[in-house]
């Protein structure tokens, strides 16, 4: 099997430590061969371009140069890192003015990007490279009875990901169906959560989170399942502030897809970081235990 360069990104070492723990647990359990990319740096997410447009391409380009070859393709867990790394790779491959400057810049630090390096989201690795059949065979725990709202946020499928519809990706649904859970047809699945505007324009971002929570609540979701640490933070940690602003009383657990898949694989909820959420998961876990 292929070897991957795992790029956790800054959030997975802090606000989304439970994503990192569950991602590693699932990768280990599924015998995915990976090593954490050595000395990786912040990708700049969507913020760095405002500070320096060229540096917002060069910072992720350094990570690309660290991956590739024996190190393997870069597997990314965070949507913002995923889009930042893909953006730099696209600019590099297009061969225009920015490409020239990326190459020149990297030359200053004696690095270059391997032409064959690819950037993959961890969800794609599970669905396409490990395969749904394999995961289904390995699953020991049926999550029947749990209603899950799949939520991708923006940057998994947009601006463009080959083979994926920008507004209606299906990878998460297909993966979650393998667990036996009821996967909801969640029409807010690629609607924006407000991302970093939670820091700069909080009220506006809270309203967007409110729309997503409202839909999940209406569909009686037991949990929203996400692929991005920033979506998780906004929907989970800021849920009480959404309630405060809108006069609602949402208490919907927000889990990473790796945590839900981990449960189906028979891993211990604690070992998957379930319980680290700020919105309590106890109702979800109770239902899970009844079924399991």
């Amino acid at each position: 099997m292929k070897h991957y360069a795992y790029y956790p990104g800054c959030s997975l070492h802090a606000t989304a430590a439970d994503y990192d723990v569950s991602a590693r647990a699932v990768m280990n359990h599924l015998d995915i061969s990976y090593s954490e990319l050595d000395d990786w740096n912040c990708c700049g997410a969507t913020a760095l371009a405002s500070d320096s447009y060229l540096f917002s391409l060069l910072a992720p380009a350094r990570n690309l140069a660290l991956a590739g070859g024996d190190k393997g393709d870069m597997v990314v867990a965070c949507n913002a890192c995923y889009v930042a790394e893909k953006r730099a790779l696209k600019a590099f491959k297009e061969g225009g003015e920015w490409s020239k400057r990326i190459t020149e810049g990297l030359l200053r630090i004696d690095k270059e990007i391997d032409d064959d390096v690819e950037v993959l989201h961890l969800l794609q690795v599970l669905v396409n490279e490990v395969g749904l059949e394999e995961i289904e065979n390995r699953a020991v725990c049926n999550l029947e009875g749990l209603k899950l709202a799949p939520y991708y946020g923006c940057q998994y499928s947009r601006p463009e990901t080959e083979g994926i519809h920008p507004e209606s990706p299906m990878d998460l649904e297909r993966l979650l169906e393998v667990t036996g859970a009821e996967v909801l047809d969640f029409n807010k699945k690629t609607r924006c959560c407000g991302s970093s505007l939670m820091s700069t324009k909080e009220e506006h971002a809270l309203r967007l989170c409110g729309e997503i929570l409202k839909e999940a609540d209406y569909m009686h979701a037991d949990a929203i399942v996400v692929t991005c640490p920033l979506c998780q933070l906004n929907l989970d940690a800021f849920q009480p502030r959404v309630n405060g602003l809108l006069g609602t009383d949402y208490r919907i657990p927000v889990l990473f897809f790796t945590q839900v898949v981990g449960l189906a694989l028979g891993l211990d909820p604690k070992a998957l970081g379930i319980g680290k959420q700020l919105t309590s998961c106890s109702g979800f876990l109770e239902k899970y235990r009844k079924g399991a």
């Binding site: 800054c10 959030s11 070492h13 802090a14 606000t15 989304a16 430590a17 000395d39 990786w40 740096n41 912040c42 997410a45 969507t46 913020a47 760095l48 371009a49 405002s50 500070d51 320096s52 447009y53 060229l54 540096f55 917002s56 060069l58 910072a59 350094r62 889009v83 225009g96 003015e97 400057r101 020149e104 810049g105 200053r108 630090i109 690095k111 923006c154 940057q155 947009r158 601006p159 463009e160 920008p166 507004e167 609607r191 924006c192 407000g194 991302s195 970093s196 505007l197 820091s199 700069t200 324009k201 506006h204 971002a205 967007l208 940690a237 800021f238 502030r241 680290k276 959420q277 700020l278």
Partner: protein, 193 residues
């Protein structure tokens, strides 16, 4: 969004700005805009902006440089790429907003969150979220700080906020990349010079 009728005077326009913008790699995309407004209709923040994305492109064409650079529009862009995915002319409007953010940043607008983000990336190599939030809030709205303390404490107790930044060995490399970016002409440099 405000609708004010205002007379724009010829002498206040700067047609050179459009030429400058479209000369940037990536900036030339706006030449193919047909003003259909799909971007504005797709944007989750269009109602909060002072000008919609479509209007910003029209204003750039007209040379309304001051209005464009003082607009809140780029700072409401959350990089959701809905506009980019739907544009019938395949314009990556999110990238257009990045270019605009970079240009207006140089003029000192709305920038503190982004400049602190940039400074921390270079200093540590990785983002130190606690310091970013604290410094951004102190600079923009210190009165909000007490309201966030309980959330901060809960996150800390859940192990979601680290007390110290993590430093990478390649910090010097990042600084050299940044120095190169300043030299080789990031967008800002071209505007500033």
């Amino acid at each position: 969004m405000t609708h004010k009728t205002r007379v724009v005077r010829q002498e206040d326009l700067d047609p050179g700005f459009f030429d400058f913008f479209t000369s940037l790699p990536g900036g030339e995309q706006i030449l193919s805009c047909i003003q259909c407004g799909t971007c504005s209709g797709s944007c989750p923040f269009a109602n909060d902006m002072d000008h919609t994305p479509r209007a910003i492109i029209a204003m750039m064409r007209a040379g309304m440089v001051e209005d464009v650079l003082n607009s809140t529009t780029p700072y409401y862009c959350a990089s959701c790429y809905s506009c980019a995915a739907r544009c019938p002319r395949d314009i990556n409007i999110t990238e257009v907003m990045y270019l605009l953010k970079n240009i207006s940043q140089l003029k000192g607008k709305y920038g503190s969150f982004y400049s602190i983000f940039g400074a921390l990336t270079r200093r540590y190599g990785r983002m130190f979220e606690g310091e970013l939030m604290l410094r951004a809030m102190l600079k923009t709205d210190p009165l909000k700080l007490p309201g966030f303390t309980p959330l901060g404490i809960r996150m800390f107790l859940k192990g979601k906020l680290k007390p110290l930044p993590s430093l990478i060995a390649g910090r010097g490399e990042l600084q050299r990349l940044y120095d190169y970016a300043q030299e080789a002409g990031s967008v800002g440099r071209e505007v500033g010079s």
